[in-house]
């Protein structure tokens, strides 16, 4: 990273120039898996719209009764609904796949040892991989609401974001709220990034890392649904997954979102540090 240590190296080699972000992104973007994931988040809103269209006309007596009924009211509502249905599994899965494959994917191709022999310093490799996966995750998490909003505007039109109790936020404000929601979801899901990165470093099988991340999400959700656990649920990483809903109201209470962001960043930092610590010392045998 510094110029000093590179005097041992061949001329032209700078550790700070190894595996640049653009290079890593190009490596990943050419993979079918990446295209598939990005395609999925783009296609899901369209699938939802078609699914809603195929259903029967909503019963006027029950209209506004469930979250799903509200989805078709306006484009912002559709985005909120999309975040709600995708937030529990699809979006965590996208993040888990992108981060779970970072190191374990290279290990499974046996290409990890050649990257490390360039040499890309280990922590730099981890950082660059994480940054690239983070950028792709963020892209997916932005693409999803953007497509949903576009699809929503086309099918349901511009309108207020309305909640089941009728808390209405005008379209303009709701676009800002959607942007904040997206940012929050990115931060909130970062714990999965940290956790699967740790698994990716610990395992040589990318499937194991991705599966472990998804398992953690599901387990956390199950525990979160057990109300008997009481206050301990506040510390489950998925507990604050939907707290972005607070932003869709006339007076925004930031407390829960701040709690969620703090908790997620805490887990991310913990697992990120563990991943770095482990990767720096690990014997690469793949």
């Amino acid at each position: 990273m510094s110029e000093v240590q590179d005097i041992d190296a061949v001329p032209g080699y700078r550790s700070s120039r190894t595996l640049r972000l653009g290079v890593e992104l190009r490596r990943q973007l050419r993979r079918r898996r990446t295209k598939l994931l990005l395609g999925m988040v783009v296609v899901l809103p369209v699938v939802l719209v078609i699914a809603f269209g195929m259903g029967e006309e909503p019963d006027p007596d029950r209209r506004g009764g469930t979250f799903a009924d509200l989805a078709v009211v306006s484009a912002p509502n559709f985005v909120v609904f999309g975040f709600f249905v995708a937030g529990s599994f699809l979006l965590p899965l996208v993040v888990a796949v992108l981060f779970g494959e970072t190191v374990a994917g290279e290990a499974s191709w046996s290409s990890l040892k050649y990257l490390l022999s360039i040499p890309v310093p280990r922590l730099r490799l981890l950082r660059q991989k994480a940054l690239a996966a983070g950028a792709l995750s963020a892209l997916a998490l932005v693409l999803f609401p953007a497509t949903a909003l576009l699809v929503g505007v086309i099918w349901y039109g511009v309108g207020d974001a309305t909640s089941p109790t009728g808390d209405a936020v005008p379209f303009g404000t709701s676009v800002v709220a959607m942007a904040i929601t997206t940012a929050y979801v990115v931060v909130q899901l970062s714990w999965i990034a940290g956790f699967t990165l740790f698994l990716s470093v610990s395992l040589d099988a990318p499937l194991g890392a991705v599966g472990g991340g998804v398992l953690a999400v599901v387990l956390s959700q199950i525990l979160d649904s057990i109300t008997a656990l009481g206050g301990v649920r506040d510390y489950l990483p998925t507990h604050h997954a939907f707290d972005w809903i607070d932003v869709f109201s006339t007076t925004v209470d930031w407390t829960d979102m701040a709690n969620g962001a703090l908790l997620s960043l805490g887990y991310t930092a913990l697992f990120g540090a563990l991943a770095a610590w482990r990767f720096a010392r690990k014997d690469i045998t793949s």
Binding site: Q5, D8, A9, V10, Y13, S15, S16, T18, R20, R27, R30, P60, R63, G64, W109, S110, K113, Y114, L116, S117, I118, P119, V120, L123, D160, P164, T165, G166, A168, P170, F195, L203, D204, G208, G212, L215, A216, L223, G230, G231, V232, Y235, L236, F242, I245, F248, T250, D253, W254, T255, N259, A261, L262, L265, A269, A273, A280, R281, D283, T285
Partner: protein, 925 residues
């Protein structure tokens, strides 16, 4: 390979599982140990207290009591009364919370409840209120209670509903009470049970939630029956019938009175059977109502009232607040999202009430409540639970000064005719008492218990509101009614609906305002009355409409049975109270933001530490800067006890092609992995051009390597892979020598196919080409001949020789002797992790100039050779003769043999290396 993968996977799975369990269940352990209520034992004294059944009476009533003592005494006391139908255990949670906060807490079962004896007098001054006073006396006598004066303990009194009323009645009659918290209680019991929202004069709208409080109300029969059932004994004793009670209607009431006192029972019977109250009942209920003493309450009062309360609405708290303030008391008002229909105050609110008591009795902390605050139910979260926000304002409008701002909404709707059906059936449904809060959580459930009947309701609707209208309190309206035909009972029920743009109506708080009109003229001329509607907190959102419904029936109430028809219209606008307030929870979550900052700072710090440690990690031996590779006592021992490399030492000089020879499992690959910084040695050093090799050491950039297996991105072609690899090095593209490398790989057009279509040999060649990219000073190839066919192996040898001839260095590992012999200039033989032999190929292959001759007559040959001057150590070995030539040209030796008549089949250096190596392999197998 397969086995290794599986081993790694299962270990990895353990790691994954361990991490998941640690995170998700570890906190549970913390919770279980931290949340155990037995960790802070409280002393609880349970017992019975005897009190006179009536003042001066010799008859005794026994009250069961519990006294919760805090850790530190003396402490101020809190008298905690329970709600109707409960007993002292109903308030155990609250009592523990208060005791943990440092109060001596007295709980007890009121007369007729729990194991206390006596009859239920509905907080009669000489019975229940006197009992409470006696308990205060007892507390004053205890040494662990702080006294303000002799016989005057520092004490607060609190309770919900029935207990709340007791707190007001006690505070109004006992000046020793220093603070009180009446929760969801009433001001006037008669109005609680028989409300009348009508007011013949204009409603005083200075406060947000005025009630009509007119006499002659409509019986709230569903709630009444509910409460009556709580005062009944589980089994009716036949003895009761033997003791007739002189009842108002000369009826024997003994068996139906349960644990109620006779006068309460009589009053109840009258109300329940007639739906009205006589003078005597009114007088009784008036003495039982806090309204009778609120003018004497001077202690600081925290009135906590529920927004979901069809039993005692916001108007009761409003009346209490007005009366206590008028008497000079200090009042704070809280409307919370709960009540008799919803929830009891939650942990957060209870905690703040405890803080308030600490502020009042201990003078500790700040007042946690403002003059007035209320909860606004917000959007339903995806989990389906309603979210509420609390807003606060610095005065309760109309108490000291000012008055409530009222938005005037003109409702459209012509005069409409509504009928009271005969028998009052069917009746509209506005909710289910006590269950409304739960039902309201799912809108379809709520819709089941909400029904208005055609012909029985007149509706008046505002236009859509153009900005959120946050109604906080009781709206008022002036109603014009005339009778069509016989006037009937003149009972109407008014409701305020929130109608969304889809037409869905919601009845906020399930609130209904019953109205008993003054006698209507039989000639059909109209009467105008002012009505105070039920108090609610409801945000009417942008685009929603406010709809006023005037109905003739309601199942919650005793609906009149006389058929009648009314002409109904509005004589004025609806005036909706608005109390501007600021959100309580909208303060920026500073602590959390600081926490986020701290986490980010910690991460940054870690990054800096890692970078600094790396920078100081440089270790160069200046004597070795020109030596491509020096390995010194290198050891790799695994924790499993296997030592793969054991004290290995050798050195490679510039221009050498060094063969690392050893059978499979000799430690060659492990050594090369350590050389690449992939595995950390447990002992010894590797220096490349003098620099110590560590993971990621910059000197590794001078090494090109192919270790064990090729590693390519399967979704890219061969050329793209090499380009991607070179791009990852970050070095200039012109240093790559890509074309030369491709030529060496010899893939031809296949270089443009995806790597996943490659054969093993093609991958191998591509991997060697990748290792040569940038023409590294030291080229390390692990078993390069594997998977290559003979011509390719031959070509490879030439490439490596030429590569080394240019002053570079090559290190080749192999388990094949022939491979090493033909490729390398130097050999290091490794077995069991250490070096067995090292030197040039010639040195080792023909150490000391020994030669072998395959001949037809070995005996003769030996003699002939021994005769040649200079030749020594002649030795016959089967069909071969070995001899040390000591500089004698091999041709002269052959000529001597031929001259002696020996036919020479073959002549050449003696293969000692092969012997040594075969021996090793034999040992290893």
């Amino acid at each position: 390979m397969k086995i290794r993968w599986q081993v790694t996977w299962s270990r990895g799975r353990l790691v994954a599982l361990g991490a998941v369990v640690a995170v998700l269940l570890g906190t549970t352990v913390v919770w279980v140990s931290g949340g155990d209520p037995t960790t802070r034992p409280l002393r609880v004294e349970e017992g019975f207290v005897e009190v006179p059944a009536a003042p001066g009476s010799a008859e005794r009533v026994s009250l069961e009591t519990s006294l919760f003592l805090p850790e530190r005494t003396p402490a101020p006391a809190v008298l905690l009364a329970h709600g109707f139908g409960g007993d002292k255990h109903s308030v155990d949670t609250d009592a523990r919370e208060l005791a943990e906060a440092g109060f001596v807490v007295q709980t007890y079962s009121a007369r007729g409840f729990g194991r206390s004896t006596g009859k239920i007098g509905l907080n009669a001054p000489d019975a229940e209120v006197a009992d409470a006073r006696a308990l205060v006396d007892r507390l004053a006598a205890r040494p662990d209670v702080v006294l303000d004066g002799p016989g005057d303990p520092r004490i607060a009194v609190s309770g919900a509903s029935y207990g709340g009323s007791l707190s007001l009645l006690l505070a109004g009659t006992d000046r020793r009470v220093d603070a009180l918290v009446p929760v969801i209680t009433y001001n006037d019991l008669a109005q609680g049970l028989l409300p009348n929202a009508v007011s013949e004069r204009e409603v005083d709208g200075t406060t947000p939630a005025p009630g009509g409080f007119a006499p002659g109300g409509v019986f709230k029969s569903s709630w009444g029956g509910f409460l009556y059932s709580m005062g009944l004994d589980p089994e009716v004793s036949p003895e009761d019938e033997l003791r007739p009670v002189a009842a108002q209607r000369d009826t024997d009431l003994g068996s139906v009175c349960g644990r109620f006192t006779d006068e309460v029972c009589r009053a109840w019977t009258e109300v329940a059977t007639t739906g009205t109250m006589g003078e005597e009942t009114l007088r009784l209920l008036s003495t039982l109502s806090p309204a009778s003493v609120t003018s004497a309450v001077t202690a600081p009062t925290l009135l906590v009232q529920g927004e979901q309360d069809t039993l005692f609405g916001l108007d009761h708290a409003d009346a209490n607040a007005r009366q206590i303030t008028a008497a000079g008391g200090e009042v704070q008002v809280v409307w919370f999202a709960g009540g008799h229909d919803g929830a009891y105050p939650d942990e957060g609110l209870r905690g703040r009430i405890v803080d308030w008591l600490r502020f009042r009795l201990l003078r500790e902390g700040e007042n946690p409540f403002g003059a007035f605050e209320y909860d606004v139910q917000g959007g339903i979260t995806p989990e389906g639970t309603p979210s509420a926000r609390t807003v606060r304002t610095d005065s309760y409008p109309g108490l000291h000064h000012g008055s409530t701002r009222r938005e005037q909404l003109r409702l459209s709707g012509d005069e409409q005719v509504v009928i009271t059906p005969p028998g009052g059936l069917p009746a509209a449904i506005s909710g289910m008492p006590a269950l409304n809060g739960r039902l309201g959580q799912t809108s379809w459930m709520a819709s089941l218990f909400s029904m208005d009947l055609p012909g029985q309701q007149a509706t008046f609707t505002s236009g859509p509101v153009d900005a959120q209208l946050l109604a906080a309190g009781a709206a008022t309206v002036r109603l014009r009614v005339s009778a069509v035909g016989p006037p009937g009972d003149g009972v109407l029920f008014l409701k305020v609906y929130d109608k969304d743009p889809n037409g869905t109506r919601t009845l906020p708080g399930n609130a209904v305002a019953p109205v008993r009109l003054p006698p209507l003229p039989a000639d059909g001329s109209p009467v105008e009355v002012d009505v105070a509607l039920a108090g609610i907190v409801r945000p009417f959102e942008n685009g929603h409409e406010l709809q006023l419904s005037v109905a003739t029936t309601d199942q919650t109430y005793r609906t009149p049975t006389t058929p009648a028809a009314y002409r109904v219209s509005l004589a004025g606008p609806v005036e909706v109270p608005v109390v501007p307030a600021v959100p309580l929870g909208s303060a920026l979550p500073v602590a959390q933001l600081a926490g986020i900052g701290a986490v980010l700072a910690a991460v940054a710090l870690l990054a800096v530490v890692a970078r600094v440690r790396r920078r100081h990690g440089r270790d160069v031996d200046p004597d070795l800067v020109d030596t491509p590779l020096v390995i010194d006592r290198l050891t790799k021992a695994y924790t499993s006890g296997v030592t793969a490399v054991d004290g290995l030492s050798f050195r490679v000089e510039r221009g050498q092609v060094l063969g690392l020879l050893g059978p499979n499992g000799a430690g060659k690959t492990t050594t090369l992995r350590m050389l690449m910084g992939l595995i950390t040695p447990t002992g010894g050093t590797i220096r490349v051009f003098g620099s110590l090799v560590t993971p990621g050491a910059a000197v590794l950039s001078r090494i090109g390597s192919f270790v064990e297996s090729a590693g390519f991105l399967p979704h890219l072609s061969g050329v793209e892979n090499l380009r991607a690899y070179w791009a990852a090095t970050g070095r200039p593209a012109d240093e790559a020598h890509l074309d030369e490398a491709l030529e060496i790989a010899g893939l031809g057009d296949a270089a443009h196919r995806l790597v996943k279509t490659y054969s093993q040999g093609m991958r191998q060649r591509l991997a060697i080409a990748q290792a040569m990219l940038g023409l590294p000073d030291l080229l390390v190839l692990d078993e390069p001949a594997n998977g290559l066919d003979p011509p390719q192996i031959h070509a490879m040898r030439d490439v490596l020789r030429r590569y080394a001839a240019a002053g570079r260095t090559v290190l080749v590992s192999s388990h094949l002797l022939a491979e090493v012999e033909q490729t390398a200039t130097h050999v290091v033989v490794v077995h069991h992790g250490h070096v067995i032999a090292a030197g040039t190929v010639d040195e080792i292959a023909s150490a000391g100039g020994a030669a072998s001759f395959a001949v037809d007559r070995p005996g003769l040959a030996a003699t002939a050779l021994a005769a040649v001057p200079g030749v020594t150590d002649v030795d016959v070995d089967g069909g071969e003769v070995h001899a040390v030539l000591n500089g004698v040209p091999c041709g002269d030796a052959v000529a001597a043999l031929v001259g002696a008549g020996v036919s020479v089949e073959r002549a050449g250096p003696r293969r000692r290396l092969e012997d040594a190596f075969l021996q090793l392999v034999g040992e290893g197998s």
